[in-house]
């Protein structure tokens, strides 16, 4: 089965496994197994790096880059913005990267990738290019370069690992930090503790507005969906954007064993919509399988602890629930059986 039919299959099939919701590779044929399940996977981000235990970003990057390596026959170059991913993978003189990798600055990964892609074209090479960075490097300081890369439709897949804050510098607020979340610069103090409601932006939607060939959101809770989206993106030319929700145990104040669970709950409560868009139109969204109140997601994380003091829910929980409800409606996140 080639990669595009594999992707199609994965859109069609629904895998169920009791308990964890992870797809058991044992249940499917060899050809349908995930890239990560294969002994042949490139291990592009190999072991030995310095990420915290349970780091969603490390996990997401490994899934994504291995899938892209598979899709391109290992003919791939990665450009990395400054941030946790860059720092924990390349403490000089060591590196975890098994593919050509370049780190220039915090805010220019998209433009550097444009340059790398231009060099491939002029040299007549088929090598493909990925740029990657955290939410800060993408939605804030790198946003101008990102928008420029989109607008020119440069042949780059940009992957944003969204852990909802500046983690590398000690967990400060970014424009991807959710309302009410406590960070070092939005402390849980005063009459409006945590991040302020009505601020922030959701860059996937802005990417869609650029009309680029492909935009998707994904989560480390759904490995197959993530791999399929990366593989699909590598089958397309032009500017592409994938934003992956990657829980950060340190920044979110959660146990490292809850990374996958939190990623799953963020989707199941509707706070993190998972969808795909092509050429400016949303083409499909991933349906919520078992809807949960946002409270169940928030209460597991210390960054929201101020919402649950003294056994009483802060009214902000209801405001966050309203955001989830709006996402569910806007992105059509409920399947027919759930609606």
């Amino acid at each position: 089965m080639d990669d595009s039919t594999l992707a199609q299959q994965q859109q069609k099939l629904k895998y169920y496994q009791k308990g964890t919701f992870t797809v058991g590779n044992r249940l499917v044929s060899d050809a349908e197994r995930s890239v990560q399940a294969s002994a042949e996977r490139s291990n592009a981000l190999t072991s030995g790096h310095r990420a915290c235990q349970g780091c969603g970003e490390a996990l997401g990057a490994r899934y994504a880059i291995d899938a892209a390596m598979r899709a391109t026959g290992n003919d791939l170059i990665a450009v990395n913005a400054t941030g946790c991913l860059e720092v924990f993978t390349t403490p000089y003189p060591e590196t975890s990267w098994q593919l050509p990798w370049l780190h220039s600055l915090f805010g220019n990964a998209a433009a550097v990738a444009t340059g790398v892609a231009a060099a491939q074209r002029v040299k007549g090479k088929a090598t493909r290019v990925i740029a990657q960075g955290g939410d800060g490097g993408t939605t804030d300081i790198g946003f101008q370069c990102l928008s420029g890369m989109f607008e020119r439709n440069d042949d780059v897949l940009y992957i944003c690992y969204d852990n909802e804050g500046y983690m590398n510098t000690g967990v400060q607020r970014s424009s991807a930090t959710p309302p009410a979340a406590r960070t070092a610069t939005t402390p849980a103090l005063g009459p409006e503790p945590g991040n302020v409601f009505g601020t922030g932006k959701f860059v996937p939607k802005i990417a869609v507005a650029h009309g680029i060939p492909y935009v998707a959101t994904a989560t480390v809770a759904d490995l197959r969906d993530l791999e399929a989206k990366v593989i699909k993106a590598m089958g397309i030319r032009g500017a592409r954007y994938i934003q992956i929700n990657v829980p950060c145990p340190l920044g979110w104040g959660a146990p490292s064993y809850d990374t996958i669970k939190l990623a799953r709950l963020a989707v199941e409560c509707g706070l993190y919509p998972i969808f795909e868009a092509e050429h400016g139109r949303i083409t499909q969204s991933r349906k919520i399988r078992r809807r949960i109140p946002v409270r169940d997601y928030l209460i597991l994380q210390k960054r929201y602890a101020h919402l649950f003091r003294n056994g009483v829910d802060d009214p902000r929980v209801a405001r966050l629930q309203a955001i989830c409800d709006a996402h569910i409606e806007d992105y059509g996140l409920l399947g027919d059986d759930e609606a």
Partner: protein, 420 residues
Amino acid sequence: MLKQVEGSHAVAEAIALCRPEVICAYPITPQTHIVEGVGELVKSGALQNCEFINVESEFAALSVAIGASAAGARAYTATASQGLLFMAEAVYNAAGLGLPIVMTLGNRAIGAPINIWNDHSDAMSMRDAGWMQLFAENNQEAVDLHIIAFRLAEELSMPVMVCVDGFILTHAFERVDIPEQAQVDAFLPPYDPVQVLDPDNPASIGAMVGPEAFTEVRFLAHYKQRQALRLIPALSDDFAKIFGRASGGLLRAYRTEDAETIVVAMGSVVGTIKDVVDELRDEGQKIGVVTLVSYRPFPVEALRDILKTAKHVVVIEKSVSVGLGGPLADNTDGALRNLDNRPLLHSAIAGLGGRPITRASLKRLFHDAVHAPWEGPFFLDLNERVVGREIHRVRKVRRSGATAENILRQLALASHLPQE
């Protein structure tokens, strides 16, 4: 081929002859005609095998060049003034990564107050970034220095900034000898990178370096620029053999052999200074001028050798390190530091924001250097009346307003009043 062309156009043609593979730039006066020129050559097909990328900022322009260069392509960009500052972080990064990018700087003042005219503030702001910085005296040299720059950059794996005075050179129509493609090809071999992003040989570039190695990395950058002190004259000799004319080098001395007063300057102002030197020589004064072509690396020894027998050294420069004085004067002072009988150094700041540097003012300046020497930096042709009034007014009035606007108002008033 001899042509009567605009400086920018001549530079564009020189760039094309160097067979760049990726060009990216963002418009800013007075650099625009250069990138428009190269853009035209790419679009028309005259320059083949080259990607011309219109980016959204100077920061992106240099970042694209960084990516292209790291991927093994010969990369070029151009900017000026605010644009150079906007890309500042990438300027340091390109040097730190050792990427042989060539950039033209159409020298222009930096705001506020915003000013599009020529001075060297922009180049000076990046003098410590790790780029080599070469200054052109005229448009022929602007053309030649770009060709030399690519070779220099690629031999040392270090970026080069070619500084061309905004308007005075970029917009001047002069006779320029545009080299033949075969000559440039003979001088400049294809780019063979020392490190490259290559899936067959994957390497990580741009790793995090801590205190255990950072000093060594910095030392080696400095060491490379010291090597350039030997390489730049050698390339200039090579250039002369192939192109049949002398160009580049670290510095050039003009009538300095027996000179008691030696002027030090960079860029297009040297043309005017040479005229003044000739005039004063005719009057019997022993005066000469040194043109610094290479500001980084700074040719300490070569400069000292020329200046050491002089009695007076006059440094004229188009920039000011606010709170200190002239950076070029300061560097020149450093070159003279350990001489036994060191000449007296006189620092003059001139031509800021495009103010013309006239022969009359220079003559007065050189006379005063010997007969009425001043302390510290001297601002040539400073309108002392206007400055005095403004200082007085600011002392009297708390809400005194913005300096630039106040001075313009004063000048406008003064033009309607009888002069004292």
